[in-house]
Structure formats: structure tokens, C-alpha cells
Point group: C2
Chain length 287, copies 2
Amino acid sequence: MTSSNVLQTRSEHLCHGGRVGFYSHASAALGLDARFAVFVPPGATAARPAPVVHVLAGLTCTEETFFIKAHALAEAARLGVALVATDTSPRGAHVPGEEDSWDFGIGAGFYLDATQEPWSQHYRMGSYIAQELPALTEQLFPLDGTRRGIMGHSMGGHGALVHALRAPDFWKSVSAFAPIVHPSVVPWGEKAFTGYLGPDRQTWRAQDAVCLLEDGYRHPTDILIDQGEADQFLERELKPDLLEEAAQKAGQALRIRRHAGYDHSYWFVQSFAADHIRHHAAVLGGV
Amino acid sequence: MTSSNVLQTRSEHLCHGGRVGFYSHASAALGLDARFAVFVPPGATAARPAPVVHVLAGLTCTEETFFIKAHALAEAARLGVALVATDTSPRGAHVPGEEDSWDFGIGAGFYLDATQEPWSQHYRMGSYIAQELPALTEQLFPLDGTRRGIMGHSMGGHGALVHALRAPDFWKSVSAFAPIVHPSVVPWGEKAFTGYLGPDRQTWRAQDAVCLLEDGYRHPTDILIDQGEADQFLERELKPDLLEEAAQKAGQALRIRRHAGYDHSYWFVQSFAADHIRHHAAVLGGV
């Protein structure tokens, strides 16, 4: 078992020759206890650390969801890629109303730092993802912080795109499943950004992948996106065409693969997850 | 969506080019509504049906567990094998005490027909697995009833071994993860068999893989079993050595693979699930 005075190990399991573990710690960024999961592939050691891909889940999910449902660990083990999974919001902030909606508050942190009271004290998943969680996991596990990628599903696809575009030297590879690409103009995003960031839409642009491309942010690699064409949220919330248009104008390399018949679920995600691991390994290498 | 006057479709999803679906129906064997899941691989049609492997989950699980956590669908799609997953007990029988234990009653049907009141009216998973569910699914889905296998985990491994040994012409291939091999002599089995079958241990023998081998039952194929050596239930409940000894005496082909460091969880199951799909496909073929 991994032991540390900053980490509680909830469980660890051998899996595909590597080790999957579930942990909690006192997060400085969130001011609360936080949970995360790590998969260390076979062969990774402190002397020979693995490249690492952070995975961000969608609305209502937890740090367990991607590891259990995305079926990515076999390919990550085969290629020698580590995975780190975060929770989707702070837990235990006790902000009034945080449990009232499935698309705002608990389970819906949108991977940003809230600026509006009463959310701004604890709803700081932006800093948690961008700084605290990579630093903590790279200190305690055999992960190579010079080879770090990010991917996500739905709200987590939004998070992956935004964080990679804003810090392309930090996140060297990026991909997404059915991401929210332009939250400023869709109901999920407008609700969350109004609550977390306030009514001034100018402040939303730094949390919106399409706006970041419009504002000059680029990622040096090809961005891979898979999107099901039978996704129940495609037209209302996801709108991948808007990202494709913005990328074309910006000269950003982007490959959106549209899949007839696939929906928004992890049955879709698992069908293409191995491709995403290979996409990241092509940039980051393996153990 | 699959529609039928005997079936309610709860959800269907495209997955790995095939279709995974969750259904409910009024079960005659159980006298209650029952849920099950089906994965139909790509290319299966009424004219060209797929071989099918029934998967039986362990204590506390449902018809969803194996499909979500075992990560077997990719290989099943690749090899053209269908999967059918059952629930682990009747639901809604309202037998007094059925919710009191996690290892008896709800979630713990042991894939047998209870003979003791008050369990005998509804706790009839034996008949459900052996007759009703194969007949129903082979009527409504493109499954080839002449090429049918069975596998399971823990309590479901017990169910797979017992059903295959008792009906080797019906279940043409068999495998298990961490099965209960000799329930008559371990706490889980003694509790369940006493409750469902009564105190006469002679009546237990037909529900016990080791006893069946002692009593002359055989399966014509090699039985594949994977067992983690760090399984927390290995010594108390599982005891694979007892099956190995009985198989040697009986001349039953059996291959137990022992894996250092692996525990009882689906993190173990997913690590070897593709091997089991290949084991069944080697006997049953593909679409």
C-alpha cells in the first residue's frame, strides 16, 4: 500500500499488471478533503517514471467513474501510461443549494475557480487540476511530470480542452469524448458560469475552448475528439461544429471523429478509449 | 430499440460496434419481474446468430455489474460472441429477512431453486438460468442456442460450474473467476444451502461443483478458472485446491491459473476477462 502522511489510501488493487488505487487527502486548493485515483502501469519506478494522463469525468461523476467505466486501463498498462482521475467538484463545502441541481454545485465543478460568493471559497477545481493534483501525484507516485497529458468526457472534455489550451507546455497532449466545447453559449455552461463566475461574460472566455481559440490560445499537437452522433446532448450542449470552425480559423490541428449511432454514455466512451490512450502515448511515449 | 410484448427495454446503447441492452420481463420461473442484460456483437443477425456466453455475477451484484466492470465487451465484439447477464437473485419477493444479509437473500440467490419455505416460491434462479432466460433471449435476440457457454465470478463462478457440469450438452463451454467450488463446506455456502435447501446435506450435492465431480458429473471441455492469490476470500470461501483434487480424481480437464497479488475484485476480473472470452470462442466460434 502506498503510505504517506499527506495521503489516505482507501484501496489499492493489482490490475492488468499495474496498480490502481483510490486515495484521499486534505486539499489546500479546495480547503476540503478530496479524493482521486491513480493507475500506475507495470514497470514504472521512481527511476523510470511513466508518462501520465489526467482524466476528467462529466457531470454527476466521481474519481471512480472513468476508471470503472471507460475500460482504458488495459491499453494504458500495455503502453506504459499512468492515469490520474480527479473528482468532479469539491465535496463537503456545504454551500446552500449545492445539492439542488445535477448540473451545478456538487458533481459539477466545471474544473474552474469560482470567483463569486458563496462558491469562491471551496469551488476551486481549476487550481486543483492545474497545480495541486499534478504536484501531489508526481511527488508520491512514479509519474513523469515532463510527459503529462489530459483528457475528459463531457464536462470533463471541456476541462481538458480549456486546461490544455491555457497551458500547452504543462499538458503536452489532449483529447476529449463528447466535450462541451463552447460553454458560454449552451445551457449547462451558462448556468454554471453565471453561478461560479458572475454575469460578466468577458470573464467566461478564459473557461471556454472556442473563446480561447478565438483569443489566440493554441495547442501544438493534434487535438483528438470522439463524438457520438446519437448523443442526446449533441445539439443543445455540445456543438462540436463550433469548435471545428474556431480551430479552422485559428489554424489549430483538430480531429473530430463522428460516430453514427453512439450516445453520450460510457458505452460510447469505452468503445474508443483505447484509441485515446494510443493518441496520448504517441505524444508522451510509455514507461 | 428491441420491442416485444414480453420485454421492457430499459436502455440500449451502441458499444464496440455491437449493442448492449438492459431489459426487464415478467419471469414465470421467479413469479416476479426480472432484469437482464444482453450484448449482441456486430454482424449478428437472425440468419447468422452469435454464440452466446451467459455471465453470472457474485454476491450483492446485479445484471449490470459484469457488463460495466468486467471489461469483456471489446473482446466479445472482436470475436463475435454475445453475452447475457442475469441478476443475482429475485427482487421484490418480500420474504421476511431477505434484506438482512449481504450473503443470503437479495443479491445472493446462488443460482439454485430453493426447496424450503418461505424461499421456495420465488427464489428459483436455478430454473431461471437453466431454462427461462436462455429460451427467452434466444427467441428475441440473434443468439445461437446450439453454441452456448457459461461463466461467472465468485458466487457466479459456483453457478457456472454447477450448471455446466449438470448440463454439459446445454452449456458447451465453461469458465470462472474466483469461484466458490465447494459451497457445502464453506460459510457462504452452508448459510445459503441451509436456508434455501434445508439441513439435509445430501440435497446440497447437486448444487456443489466438487460433489458433482465426485458423483460422476463431467464436462467434455477444459474448464478455465482464474484465481487471485491475494483474494481475501481464498482460504475461507473459495478453496480452489478442493476442485483441483476432485477434478484430478475424476479425470476432469481443468486449468486453474493462480495470479500472485490479485484480489477478489473486478479489477482482477477485468485483467483476465478477454482470456475468458477467447476460451469460450475457441469452443463456440464466433458470429
